[in-house]
Amino acid sequence: MSSTQTETATVPVRGKKASVVPGTVLLWVLVAIYAFPLLWFILSSFKPGSELFSLPLSILPETWTISGYQDAWSRFNFARYFMNTGIVAVVTTALTVLVSSMTGYALAKYKAWWLNVFFMCVLATTMLPTEVIMPSTFVVIRDLGLYDSLPGIIIPSIVTATGVFMFRQYFKTVPDELLEAARIDGVGEIRTFFSIMLPLAKPMAVTLAIFSFQWRWNDYIWPLLVLNDPNQYTLQIALRSIVGADNIDWSVLLAASVISLVPMIVLFLIFQRQIMSADMNSGLKD
């Protein structure tokens, strides 16, 4: 209904119907520009090593091959990197959702000066990211005995301001009456949260879980600080070690990079709706 209203309101001003052609053409030119780098990258990964650098370059591989993938898989311990990254991403995400929801709930539903102070502290972490205090963070990790271990990546990444903020905003929209009703019925505060409030916040939990998984899967800075032993490497660190070599083996690097993308693309295909419609007014970036 509203669309017909706007059409009658916007179209007849100059007496001619606006064409969709220029807008559509522009949009699709931009789509081509945005899609090309990734398309070129993926197509290149299916070229044999000899074809990668032979001029003239062709968009499609002349001979399709998966030898780059076989090389990447056999020369590097990719199964291991996959598992490490998967463990880190899944465990951190579960803990992030739990801690963020509890913290966000406390900040939304209770009033105390120290809660306000803590909220300001949490907000401050967005302004001062880990990258900035890297050297001393490294010393902390080492002194805590977390150096070169997967918990060393997991534990420091649990708290994110974005997660806390998302849940705080969400629980603010839940009526206080619900909490009061639970209190009058004699339900304990902790139980109220776990049996009433947390189930209510399920959509928010799903959204944060998706985002958290992406942050952790693609994270570079914490693994870089914490890991040393190649057996503990996550995918990003492994890729960096290939690209940082004096002579980059492009055939392997292209394939390895594409392999690392697969879980994210699967995630996107499954949760596309949630990702695209996520109510994001809180600077979801970590």
């Binding site: 559509t24 780098p37 972490t125 900035v132 206080d176 992406q214």
Partner: protein, 313 residues
Amino acid sequence: MTASTAEPVEQAAPVPQHPRRRRSSIRRGQTIAPLIFIAAAVVLFALFFIWPGVFGFIYSLSDYRGFGTPDIIGFDNYTRLFGDPEFYSALGRTFLFVGFSVPLHYIIPLGLAVLLTTKLARGQAVARAVFFLPWLISPIVNGVIWRWLFGENFGFFNYFLSIFGIGPVQWQTNGELALVVVLIAGTWGGTAFTMLLFIAALRNVPQSYLEAAAIDGAMGWKRFRRITLPLLAPTTFLVVLVTTIGAMKEFAMIQALNGGGPGTENVLMVQYIYRTGFERGDIGYASAASMVLMVILIVIALIQMRFDRKDVQ
């Protein structure tokens, strides 16, 4: 809401004893419960934010090299830092990068969001998914993708230009052009998220405003500038703040794209901290650089919050 909560209290007033006891126990629960809820976050915050922050400052006054006990040497690190041309180069390069990166991260996603919400284009759902794809890609892979595309001898871009007799363009060996590639890669990777924010904001612009403007004869660019843009102000502030901080700490993508090269020409602040702290093992010195970057970020945040407040008024 206040009226509805006041009612049961008044009803309960005639029987004071029971409710009072219950209320006091509830009140105690209301103090302890939030403490339990935030406990984990507080501990983690103290361990991985306060501790490194405080010790970062202490180390910046010391000659700590990662082992042994740090000796306090006063402001020597800062004196060395401010006498180091590489530090100024990294700082200047970072500001240059932020200066170009933030407008790009604003204009391009906003433009795309407008195209994706206008009625004057078709195929928007598919287009939106394509624009969103780079969000899935890690900064490292993002760097690799553009390194592959902009290789001087083997990249598609130089091949494409050579068809027209141009080049080879020095995307890797010329410092300025290398920064251009970094900007392009950063914008490509950062578009998705900001674009979604703008799409949400554009959908929240009341139709009635736009119709009223149309009746008054304001269309196209004029209507966008006068009506839509001012209504997007809160999103704009958020985007500028987030992308400024994001650009200030840019590190991973450049690591994979050109490692801050050619040479050290495009080493930004975080990479400078990493090099001095980890490759040279000079934790004290790197901490001093960290503190400088921290102060810069605080100043940026304060300036932007000021702007934000003005806007609300």
